[in-house]
């Protein structure tokens, strides 16, 4: 118990010199608050999409015979192309972050715009797809498959859209000179979100489009 009386002495001892403070944020885990929080948020999002996908599977299995179903509307080649576009946006996202880390501001902007454009193309594809389905007779209220399909893919599309808004915000920040390698972590976190949304799409594409109906 000898240390009890003066526990503060450890604090006032000369700091260990040479610890690389700049390399490690001063947090208990070593992760910054923002990054830890983003991971936690994405963990929570897994349950959101998990529940939505489960709802879709459940709804699809309950679709009465003779109703307009997945086989009647899905256009696998088209959706494969738009899925490929979305996956490529993850690559450009990585390139954007890498450019920012190296201080190449111009390249960063190019890759950010590319990422946002690829995401936008995917969204445009989704709008086109929805329009085609609607013209085939599948509305939101038509049957249980329609409700579940539009809800699930709509939630995903909303996530991509929010991602595009965040990408464009970083672009504006960069143009206005507010972005530097110092706040690369902000871009990294947007990247985490972006990759997560892409991974969710891989699941959705596989389970909803590719699994035998």
């Amino acid at each position: 118990m000898s240390d009890v009386a003066s526990p503060e002495t450890t604090v006032s001892a000369p700091a260990a010199t040479g610890h690389t403070a700049a390399a490690h944020p001063p947090t208990t885990t070593g992760l910054t608050h923002n990054k830890l929080a983003m991971w936690l948020f994405l963990g929570s999002e897994c349950l959101l999409f998990g529940a939505l996908i489960a709802t879709y599977m459940f709804a699809k299995s309950r679709l009465p015979a003779g109703e307009l179903g997945p086989n009647d509307v899905f256009d696998i080649p088209f959706t494969s192309v738009s899925s490929f576009v979305l996956l490529m946006s993850s690559l450009t996202m990585v390139l954007a972050l890498s450019a920012l880390n190296r201080g190449e501001e111009r390249n960063f902007r190019v890759w950010i715009v590319a990422t946002a454009l690829l995401g936008g193309t995917f969204i445009a594809g989704q709008v086109y797809e929805f329009t085609v389905f609607y013209n085939l007779g599948l509305g939101y209220t038509t049957n249980i498959f329609g409700s579940a399909f539009y809800t699930l893919t709509g939630f995903h599309g909303a996530h991509v859209t929010i991602g595009i808004v965040m990408l464009m915000s970083t672009l504006v920040s960069s143009v206005r000179g507010r972005l530097s390698p110092r706040n690369a972590e902000t871009v990294e976190l947007i990247g985490l979100y972006w990759h997560f949304v892409d991974i969710v799409w891989i699941l959705i594409f596989t389970i909803i489009y590719l699994f035998p109906q």
Binding site: A37, S44, A51, I144
Partner: protein, 696 residues
């Protein structure tokens, strides 16, 4: 997990308290320490905690009045106090209010106030998000209750079973308010969960390893993880219900092939973890109160922690015991019966450990202790009746009867609420600088305990006699008359007990005026929050605390002589901080959390009435978020950070630990103004901090 050698926060002393005036940001940040604006725009976790608590007590009155209306209606057979329709609304809103607007925010009050203090931190990781959680919760709660004046409150039960909660069977807007209101409070809970987990994992004082954290901190951490993963599931369920009701989707449209079990599964996958979200904070509080007033360390600390974690995990595998009579099949019923029995084991471990903590202790029956012991006893009764539900044949008889009502009131009222009342009496002096009156408190406790048992004890009998839940009235020859009358009488005794509590607040507050200030440690307590002044100063601790063992504060006050007897080794005044530090950097208040939170009910009203209102809400949210992001950072020096070393008088500062490059910034999607270090106080010598890893 061990801590890294970098401390999670640095404290400094000696500078003037300077709120950085800023030239960097686009907008200004609010200033001022007093007045209503300082509360509206505060990001201080202690003020936010107090406001959570005040709101929860307010809603307790609302929910209590609803409870009394239910009991008045059922006092005599054929009651006509409420119409059938009004009765449905009242029992629905009673449940919703008590679960989402009383117990959960009260737990949030304790979490906000105590978590940072118990781990020796300056504030939570994201102070502005914390403020947002409070205002979003309040917005959701008020939104829900405005339904009373807008054509009728929700009337489908707090569980909102679809399709009963669909448009066909519930045509008023009530269930829309339910679905959207809970969505808003869910956002608040989710944000709060992310914030508090980050706080606990990332901001512990040097030496505060996970297994030195107080049990309350542990239980609150488990609760935040439950929220993190349970809230998105109810979010989906509520969205589906909203889409059905507002946009004509078919998720619960049985005519289109839908299965009502979908709602039940989604709701209870959320709903059963929710049960532990309600009870675990009270478990944590009892685990703090009982050791202090037994003058013993908590018995079996690791068992206490691991049983809490086990409850957290197993809580995900028992949801279908709410659905034994829904036809889910014998295999499912058997599996969920077993898992439900198993989850009683870690709960039993906890009860044993509380009793063993008291065993041989020097017991002081303060009001806080009485409430804790009362909560252990009442929870045990409720837990045992809960185990009877695990036996599915018995449950088939009990389900949807007053036996169930008795069970969950014993665990939620007798366990959660009594545990939280214990916490209120215990930490009241810490938050406000004066104790609540003990004599009145004890009288209040006994009144509440007697009233509680009078009300809910007879419901066991009523339930086994076959009285259904949620019935509006019963016939005089059903044989329910006596015990219903007793229960109604008991409910008014409870009301007296609650009123005594409020009276106690007023009385103690009046008497405290002019009284000498209370010391930091009125109960001779154990955890770190007692190591600073009461009420806690804005900056929490004057100096950084290096933790070397569990119950650090206690061991700084008390040691052992050569015979192994406990002796005082230092007076409290010497150990505790007096709260006089100056110049501690604190996160600045902010306008935007309240603006963003205000946008949420607009969106919700708009979805019900007119999409233009939704547009206004969306603009508020979007504008608020952008203003939030481009708000000036707390500390302009953050980026050029080396001009504050000289001002630290202790002269023991080494290199700054706040390397600007790795600091979180006010940009992007996340909240950037965590309580980040301002001054570079000395980092503890790494080896010293690490070598103390073995607990004595």
């Amino acid at each position: 997990m061990t801590t890294t050698s970098e401390p999670p926060l640095q404290l400094t002393a000696g500078e003037q308290l300077v709120r950085p005036s800023t030239s960097l940001g686009v907008l200004s940040r609010p200033k001022g320490e007093v007045g209503w604006k300082s509360w509206l725009f505060t990001v201080d976790h202690k003020r936010i905690g107090i406001m959570y608590g005040a709101a929860a007590l307010l809603f307790l009155v609302v929910g209590g009045i609803e409870a009394l209306l239910i009991r008045l209606q059922l006092a005599v057979p054929g009651g006509n106090v409420l119409s059938e329709d009004a009765y449905n609304q009242v029992f629905t809103m009673h449940g919703v209010t008590m679960v989402f607007l009383v117990i959960m925010p009260m737990a949030a009050a304790f979490a906000n106030y105590l978590l940072p203090l118990q781990i020796g931190a300056r504030d939570v990781a994201f102070p502005r998000l914390n403020a947002f959680s409070l205002w979003a919760f309040l917005a959701g709660g008020i939104f829900l209750n405005t339904s009373w004046f807008l054509g009728g409150a929700p009337d489908g039960g707090w569980f909102g079973y679809a399709p009963n909660s669909g448009l066909v069977f519930s045509p008023s807007h009530g269930m829309d308010f339910y679905a959207l209101g809970l969505q808003i409070t869910g956002i608040a809970s989710l944000v709060s969960a992310i914030n508090l987990i980050t706080t606990v994992l990332n901001m512990r004082a040097p030496g505060m390893t996970l297994f030195r954290m107080p049990v309350l901190t542990w239980m609150l951490l488990v609760v935040q993880f439950l929220l993190l993963f349970a809230i998105p599931v109810i979010t989906v369920a509520l969205f589906l219900l909203s889409f059905d009701r507002l946009f004509g989707a078919n998720f619960f449209n049985v005519a289109a092939g839908a299965d009502p079990l979908l709602w039940q599964h989604l709701f209870w996958i959320f709903g059963h973890p929710e049960v532990y979200i309600l009870i675990l904070p009270a478990f944590g509080i009892m685990s703090e109160v009982i050791p202090v007033f037994s003058r013993k360390p908590i018995f079996g600390y690791p068992f206490m922690v691991f049983s809490g974690i086990a409850i957290g995990f197993m809580g995900w595998g028992v949801w279908a015991h709410h659905m034994f009579t829904s036809g889910i099949g014998p295999v499912s019923v058997a599996v969920f019966s077993l898992s439900t029995m198993f989850i009683a084991v870690p709960t039993g471990v906890k009860i044993l450990n509380w009793l063993a903590t008291m065993w041989g202790g020097r017991l002081r029956f303060t009001t806080a202790m009485l409430y804790s012991v009362g909560a252990v006893a009442m929870f045990t009764i409720g837990g045992l009746s809960g185990v009877t539900h695990a036996i599915s044949p018995a449950d088939t008889q009990q389900t949807d009867t007053y036996y169930i009502v008795a069970h969950f009131h014993y665990v939620i009222f007798g366990g959660s609420l009594m545990g939280m009342l214990s916490g209120l009496y215990f930490w009241w002096p810490k938050a406000f600088g004066y104790k609540l009156n003990e004599r009145l408190g004890k009288v209040g406790f006994w009144v509440l305990l007697v009233g509680f048992n009078l009300t809910f004890g007879p419901m066991h009998i009523l339930g086994l006699q076959g009285m259904s839940r949620r019935i509006h009235s019963y016939a005089a020859d059903s044989g329910f008359n006596l015990w219903n009358a007793v229960a109604t009488a008991g409910s008014f005794v409870i009301a007296v007990g609650v009123l005594l509590f409020f009276w106690n607040i007023g009385l103690s507050r009046r008497r405290a005026r002019g009284a000498p200030p209370l010391g930091p440690d009125p109960w001779d307590a154990r955890a770190l929050e007692w190591m600073t002044a009461s009420p806690v100063p804005t900056h929490n601790f004057d100096r950084e605390i290096t933790v070397t063992r569990q119950d650090e504060f206690w061991h700084r006050k008390w040691g052992y002589d050569e015979n192994g007897k406990v002796v005082r080794i230092a007076p409290t005044a010497e150990v505790a901080h007096d709260g006089s530090a100056k110049g501690v950097h604190l996160p600045s208040p902010s306008y935007w959390p309240v603006v963003v939170a205000l946008g949420l009910p607009f969106v919700a009203y708009g979805l019900i009435y007119n999409l233009w209102i939704t547009g206004v809400g969306a603009l508020l949210i979007l504008g608020g978020l952008y203003a939030w992001v481009f708000e000036p950072p707390d500390d302009p020096e953050d980026q050029a950070h080396d001009d504050h070393h000289e001002s630290d008088p202790s002269g023991d500062t080494g290199n700054g630990a706040d390397g600007g490059g790795s600091q979180d910034h006010n940009g992007g999607s996340a909240d950037g103004d965590g309580a980040r270090p301002l001054a570079a106080a000395g980092a503890p010598a790494g080896p010293a901090a690490e070598s103390s890893g073995n607990q004595p």
